[in-house]
């Protein structure tokens, strides 16, 4: 179900990323003040935007999960959040590198994007421990969705509040630069944004496909093993998908001795 067009998507992403890299290095002019280092901006800001959208999508998928009780929405939410966590680490790292290169410090409290990100990452880092700490799969999914919705709402609100709090400290805002960019900078920036968004989407679909395939495999195994499959599954933070296997009833027939 998720495997369709995956190759096309992957190739497009690869092409977009390559084009972005080439243009960033050879076509976009060097910044007058910051020089070569400024090019990190093409990575850092799009990563930040995509990560935040990923977290918010995780919250939206969680709302759908609570409304429909369909475990696929929970899987979508889980994959979105855990992918965004990885991208988020990238945001913090690239932001730090840029700060160090531009202003000589690895961390700067007056930079609202970095501060907001730190807070958001601290919150979302609890997502997997929370899931892992609940054994009942249905309850795990439900509680995770409640968390994802709360955290998803927190993301934009937190941004606004942190921005408010640093507004009077002459923020050296990385993100605002996009508003003042002349022609070539803008082209590369938007291209980079699209590429990284494509990268996120491709990775998301890959992971969804992989999890779905594993679930189908396990369902097949259980069908073949019949009633002898007694082994209790290991505790896991990963959502479980209830899948039915084509051509076989997941329910099976009543055992010996049924008399009705």
């Amino acid at each position: 179900m998720y495997g369709k067009r995956l190759r096309a998507l992957a190739l497009t992403t690869f092409a977009a990323l390559t084009l972005t890299l080439v243009l960033a290095f050879f076509w976009a002019p060097n910044d007058a003040n910051q020089g070569f280092l400024q090019k990190i901006f093409y990575l850092h800001v799009p990563l930040a935007i995509v990560t935040l959208c990923g977290f918010v999508y995780g919250g939206v998928a969680a709302i759908m999960h609570l409304r429909t009780r369909d475990s696929r929405w929970d899987m979508r939410s889980y994959v979105a959040i855990h992918l965004s966590l990885v991208f988020g680490v990238g945001v913090l790292v690239t932001g730090s590198i840029w700060a160090k290169g531009s202003w000589g410090v690895w961390w700067d409290w007056s930079e609202p994007t970095l501060v907001s990100f730190l807070l958001i990452m601290l919150l979302y880092a609890t997502y997997q421990p929370l899931r892992f700490a609940i054994e009942d799969p249905e309850r795990q999914a439900r509680y995770a969705s409640v968390f994802a919705i709360t955290a998803g709402a927190f993301v934009p609100i937190n941004f606004v509040i942190v921005r408010l709090s640093t507004a009077y400290l002459h923020p050296r805002v990385l993100g605002d630069i996009s508003a003042n960019l002349p022609g070539r900078f803008q082209v590369v920036f938007y291209l980079s944004l699209i590429s990284i968004a494509l990268l996120w989407i491709t990775l998301w679909r890959y992971e969804m496909t992989s999890k779905h395939a594993s679930a189908q495999l396990r369902a097949l195994r259980r069908l073949l093993a019949g009633d002898e499959d007694d082994a209790l599954p290991r505790r896991s933070a990963v959502p479980t998908l209830s899948v039915s296997v084509e051509g076989g009833r997941a329910g099976g027939t009543p055992g010996v001795g049924a008399s009705r």
Partner: protein, 231 residues
């Protein structure tokens, strides 16, 4: 033969009576919170090596202490229900689910009020430079809005964390990032009130932001709470 659906008022009263009785007989939350806050003030004295704080520092120290003490209360909020009465008893009854949310929110608020009755005078005694009395009206406003934020987030996170295997760790880990905006707004709102040169005016901007934050998360908690109660 069943009675009609119970009135929310009656159910709320019964639940609050239960909370009061259980807390008074087991002392599982409030004494620890209050004692912890006083001890923390002592720690701050030694850590900062100051006798008198004012402005930003005073407001910050007060709010960080209140927040950590609140987290202790959040951890205890649902423990008796999870371990004994169980949510089942409530869920089996025809009572309206939201009443449980209200009763727990009010209980947490009560914990915080008692905590502040101890912590604020202790703070004034041990660490606060300027006099407390003139600062009190402004401080009460900030405390009210800050408490609302703690209650709203704390009730949600308390319910979320209580039926996990590591509830004492997850509770603080999840609630503290969510409480940072409350801390931020409350500390900044309280700073001029605790000013060295006499109690200043309350900065409206931070109060409004805090109030809006409380409102938004209050609505979210109300919307998702029921989903935490099912088995």
């Amino acid at each position: 033969m069943s009675a009609g659906a119970p009135q929310n008022r009656v159910v709320l009263g019964a639940l609050l009576r239960k909370e009061l009785r259980v807390e008074l007989r087991s002392f599982s939350a409030v004494p620890a919170m209050s004692l912890f806050s006083v001890t923390t003030f002592v720690l701050f004295h030694f850590a900062l090596q100051r006798n008198a704080l004012s402005d930003d520092l005073a407001s910050g120290v007060l709010w960080v202490t209140l927040l950590f003490a609140a987290v202790l209360g959040i951890n205890r909020l649902f423990v008796a229900d999870a371990e004994q009465g169980g949510f089942d008893g409530f869920l089996l009854s025809p009572a309206d689910r939201s009443v449980l949310l209200y009763s727990k929110a009010l209980t947490l608020l009560a914990y915080l009020l008692v905590l502040e009755l101890v912590a604020v005078p202790a703070f004034a005694l041990l660490l606060l430079g300027p006099a407390l009395w003139p600062a009190l009206p402004g401080l009460l406003v900030v405390l009210a809005l800050g408490d609302a934020g703690i209650v709203v987030i704390g009730t949600l996170v308390g319910a979320l964390a209580v039926r996990t295997s590591v509830r004492d760790l997850l509770g603080p880990m999840i609630s503290l990032p969510l409480l940072v905006p409350v801390l931020l707004c409350a500390a900044r709102a309280g700073a001029p009130v605790l000013g060295a040169g006499g109690a200043g005016a309350l900065p409206l901007r931070w109060l409004v932001t805090l109030a809006l934050y409380d409102l938004v998360f209050g609505l979210i908690t109300f919307a998702v709470f029921d989903f935490l109660l099912e088995d």
